[in-house]
């Protein structure tokens, strides 16, 4: 459904961040993107949602297609209209606006009042706490509630693909579990296609069907989530298992070489 073919992204016309990255998001599935800080996960999402321009970045090579259409250089608002929605890292709700106004902004491109109302009800059904706080200023919500608002806001545009960037960031384990459940329910019940970017690999691989591991702007490993869960490299570098006896300084070199999957 969504295909990224061999893209290169350059910032400030000389910093090469993505170096020929390819991935596929299948319709109705949850796809996870894993990787350390600076691996290029967020940049990949922004390339897909068209938000690179505000950061002086651009896709210089390769192409991104969505439903068969080339969207590599399409304007961000047209991608939203086409059904691609990104929930940005750090929630990025509109702090000065009320909860309800935030949701209305989410449905900005939808002009049919009934559809907006029904989507709003859907968002409130998934996140009952938002309904309680509908008239509060969003900046005063707690971190978990803000994340819920961010996801609820994304639902308002009636998207087909939702890209979640680090939804677990800054949340307690209980809340992470809650977000995890809701992501799964949205996928099962609403048939949403989800592209999930996470550093919390345990969470991501628990919900995802398929996963990609990014490093230094490239995909270094991919496979079904259950295979990745048992992959030795992923276990070692992202799930923190089996590396105990190799934590010595003398083995660092080996670790680095190993990590590049050469």
């Amino acid at each position: 459904m969504l295909t990224v073919e061999n893209i290169e992204v350059v910032f400030n016309s000389y910093v090469l961040v993505l170096k020929g990255l390819s991935l596929q998001v299948r319709s109705g599935a949850i796809t996870a993107l894993l990787g350390t800080n600076g691996a290029g996960k967020t940049t990949t999402l922004k390339a897909i949602s068209g938000l690179l321009g505000t950061e002086d970045g651009e896709v210089t090579r390769g192409r991104i297609t969505y439903g068969g259409e080339d969207i590599t250089h399409m304007a961000a608002d047209r991608r939203v209209a086409a059904g691609l929605m990104q929930v940005m890292e750090g929630r990025r709700i509109f702090q000065d606006l009320t909860v309800e106004e935030n949701l209305r902004i989410g449905g900005y491109l939808e002009r049919d009042g009934r559809k907006i109302a029904s989507r709003r009800e859907l968002a409130y059904d998934y996140f009952p706490r938002l309904r309680e706080r509908r008239n509060q200023i969003a900046g005063f919500l707690s971190g978990g509630e803000q994340q819920m608002l961010a996801i609820g806001r994304a639902l308002m545009s009636g998207p087909q693909v939702v890209m979640l960037d680090e939804p677990s960031m800054g949340l307690s384990p209980v809340l992470v579990q809650e977000v995890c459940d809701i992501v799964l329910r949205l996928n099962r019940e609403q048939g949403l296609t989800i592209l999930l970017v996470e550093q919390n690999a345990r969470f991501a691989l628990a919900v995802a069907d398929y996963g990609y591991v990014l490093e230094d702007g490239k995909v270094v490993l991919e496979g079904a989530a259950r295979d990745l869960r048992h992959d030795q490299n992923v276990q070692e570098f992202y799930l923190g298992a089996g590396a105990n006896d190799r934590g010595r300084f003398s083995s660092v070199k080996w670790y680095r070489r190993k990590k590049r999957w050469v």
Partner: protein, 297 residues
Amino acid sequence: MSWSSLLSLIVNGVVVGSVYSMVALGFVVIYKTTRVINFAQGELLLVGAYVCFALTVSYQLPFWVSFLMTGVFCGTLGYIIERVVLRRVVGDPIVSVIMITLGLSIVLRAIVGAVFGVNSQVIPSPIPDGAIMVGGVPVSYQYLFSMAFSLVAMIAFGAFFRWTRLGLAMRATATDQQAAMAMGIDVGRIFAVSWAIACVVSAVGGVLLATISGVNLGVSHFGLKVFPAVILGGLDSIVGAAVGGVLIGVIENVADGMFKSLLDIDGFRDVAAFALLVVVLMVRPYGLFGQRAIERI
């Protein structure tokens, strides 16, 4: 100084202040959405006033028709200015953008001067002559009309930002541009629309001013008076801009009158607002109503 002369100073101040309010409103709209400090706001007022003047006097159109046409013209002008000039400097350092708007103000003033000359012009008012007495001071219908008109305009804009889809999108853009973009808001269009709105509001202020006391090129200093007004009112709110504008109008008028009658010093009008401003900034750096911005490293 007698009570009645003080009262008439205040009334005059409110009328001039309502024009300040309009210009300040335009300034705040641009600043909030695009973060551009617009030094050409006063020139936009000038353009509005002179276009309306040309339409009513030279082309003999009825006042309301030319008023409407002025609005449309200025809206388009603002839209074009954003598209052609300011779009290209998005993200440049703040000083450069300030210089661009200063350049813009020079160009606009020169164009108005070249087309309309340097003489003061008055738009014949549609409001009949006459006055009502308030506390022993005559207040002309014309004054009442312009105060009421600015009030209605303020309320209309408040409602626009609160309830309409576009107004909401503009507020969202003001809060977080990138997130607004991710919501499918065409941020570039919002920028252009906010310039269009700012131009229209300033033009309305200009037309009101031209019917009350006439305009000449010197009136563009209204654009500078906006700064004390918005600082007093706080940059965050439409209401603040309106209140700040009226406040500045009254303060400078009364202070000017005082200086003239008590100390025999002329020309304090242009300084009063700024002198007050310096005091305010020393005591409360973020204005009377403004919120203190918290900065994190």
